[in-house]
């Protein structure tokens, strides 16, 4: 176990350093890929392949979870049955779509007529959810930030769409909304993104240094 931890740490650190170096020194002066760049590409391709393979592992895990739910007759086991059935069918259709046109049509139809409407419906559900959340915001957390948030959201809403029969709301549509959207909102968003980028940087460095080992080990 100890050897496993050390090995995985060494591999992770070494490949991380190589990929990082490839981003910086991966191109020659003429724009062609350097050796380091090529090595980086290879590693990235491997990572992509691994990520794809991880999808299969994840799907298998999903099957395992719902199978256990069905076997233990937990709440929602019926939905688990539907999920497993549909997953198997879709998987088979996808495998056959390349070879059987009907499978391809069905495969596309499953996406087009099942997945797409469901997801758009969930997105539509967000309208009610976010509206209700806006109503409850001040009851849940009454402070200055919440008031500013709510007022800003409402002002942006007013300035985004014209009112029926009235058209654009004067002052809100042409002055307030653009100013708020482009100056304080954009500036705040930039600051947040810079902070996120710095956090991303330090997190990556912690992994490169081996202090954070999400792949297993003592200090995961």
């Amino acid at each position: 176990m100890k050897f496993k931890g050390i090995t995985s740490t060494v591999i992770a650190i070494s490949f991380g350093v190589l990929v990082l170096a490839g981003y910086i020194f991966g191109y020659n002066a003429d724009g062609s890929l350097s050796l380091l760049g090529q090595f980086q590409l290879i590693i990235l391709n491997i990572a992509v392949i691994l990520a794809g393979f991880a999808v299969l592992v994840g799907i298998f895990n999903l099957l395992l979870v719902h199978t256990k739910k069905i076997s233990q007759k937990q709440k929602g086991a019926g939905y688990s049955i539907v999920l497993i059935v549909t997953l198997v069918i879709t998987f088979l259709l996808g495998l056959l779509a390349h070879y059987v046109p009907i499978a391809a049509a069905l495969f596309n139809g499953a996406f087009q007529y099942i997945q797409l409407p469901i997801e758009t419906s969930l997105m539509a559900l967000l309208v009610v959810t976010l509206t209700y959340a806006s109503i409850r915001l001040l009851r849940r957390r009454l402070n200055v930030l919440s008031v500013i948030f709510l007022v800003t959201a409402w002002v942006i809403l007013v300035g985004t769409a014209p009112w029926p029969f009235l058209g654009d709301v004067p002052f809100f549509s042409d002055i307030v909304r653009p100013i708020i959207a482009q100056i304080p909102a954009a500036a705040g968003a930039r600051g947040i993104l810079i902070g996120v980028a710095l956090g991303t940087l330090t997190t990556g460095l912690r992994i490169l240094f081996g202090s954070d080992r999400p792949y297993g080990g003592k200090n995961g």
């Binding site: 990082l20 999808v55 976010l130 330090t202």
Partner: protein
């Protein structure tokens, strides 16, 4: 040339960050550094304690950030927090559940839960505790909602790369009368979580959550390095703005 210069600048920033982190981590601190209190994390500690006391479950959702993308950093931060929370709650009746919208992230969450249960030497590891609930954002949210509703969850922690689908998760948690802490590196998700979740971490607080919960010298060092770099960037922005106003740039 421009790419090379940009590359050098990037390398310099990375090198400086590394030096700062290693140096600050190597410095022995007689007293723990004073970081500002984050009320959300304070409530998180309380909620995790209640999980153990109530015999309920903890649900950690890691988002859908792919490991090969820049959004993987938020996922890794979520994994760090998951590891510590798994150790804390392993003494409870039920182990925590980790859901994710990315396959590799689901595998890592399983490994993290296994490490956490082994570290406590008390809880038994359940391979199905780390789950892939969907490959698309809303399918991932749709798959995580039954977990919140049916698995006797009392505390939800949404930490990772989320989109607007985080509102569905927060709404489901509220209907289940559970505590929700939300944090994402996505701006839209931050706004949504601020309005719908009970507690929200904004910006880089997501990356500081691990340090607040399980403080190690390297975490303190990374937070301090972030602060130093932030001030440097602020200075560069101000100088650049002045130069731009002066017409130099």
């Amino acid at each position: 040339m421009t790419n090379f210069v940009l590359g050098l600048v990037g390398f310099g920033i990375i090198f400086l960050s590394g030096v700062l982190m290693l140096g600050l981590a190597a410095l022995r601190r007689k007293s723990s550094p004073a970081f500002r209190e984050i009320p959300a994390i304070t409530r998180l500690r309380q909620a995790v304690g209640r999980v153990v006391e109530d015999g309920t479950r903890l649900h950690v959702s890691l988002g859908r950030g792919a490991l090969a993308t820049p959004q993987s950093a938020s996922a890794l931060a979520g994994l760090t927090l998951l590891r510590h929370l798994a150790e804390l709650t392993s003494a409870g009746d039920k182990p925590p559940i980790a859901t994710s919208g990315e396959a590799a992230l689901a595998i890592l969450s399983q490994d993290t839960l296994q490490m956490g249960s082994q570290a406590s030497a008390q809880g038994a590891y359940d391979p199905t505790a780390g789950r892939l609930t969907g490959l698309t954002p809303f399918s991932y949210a749709a798959g995580a909602i039954p977990t919140i509703r049916d698995e006797n969850i009392s505390t939800n922690i949404l930490i990772g790369n989320f989109g607007v689908e985080a509102a569905l998760l927060a709404d489901a948690a509220e209907r289940a009368n559970t505590f929700t802490l939300g944090s994402s590196d996505n701006l839209t998700a931050q706004a949504v979580l601020f309005a719908s979740a009970q507690e929200a971490l904004i910006g880089e607080e997501l990356f500081a959550a691990g340090a607040y919960v399980n403080a190690r010298p390297i975490h303190y060092a990374s937070l301090t390095a972030q602060d130093i770099l932030r001030w440097l960037i602020i200075g560069v922005i101000l100088v650049g703005a002045v130069l731009k106003l002066a017409g130099i740039l």
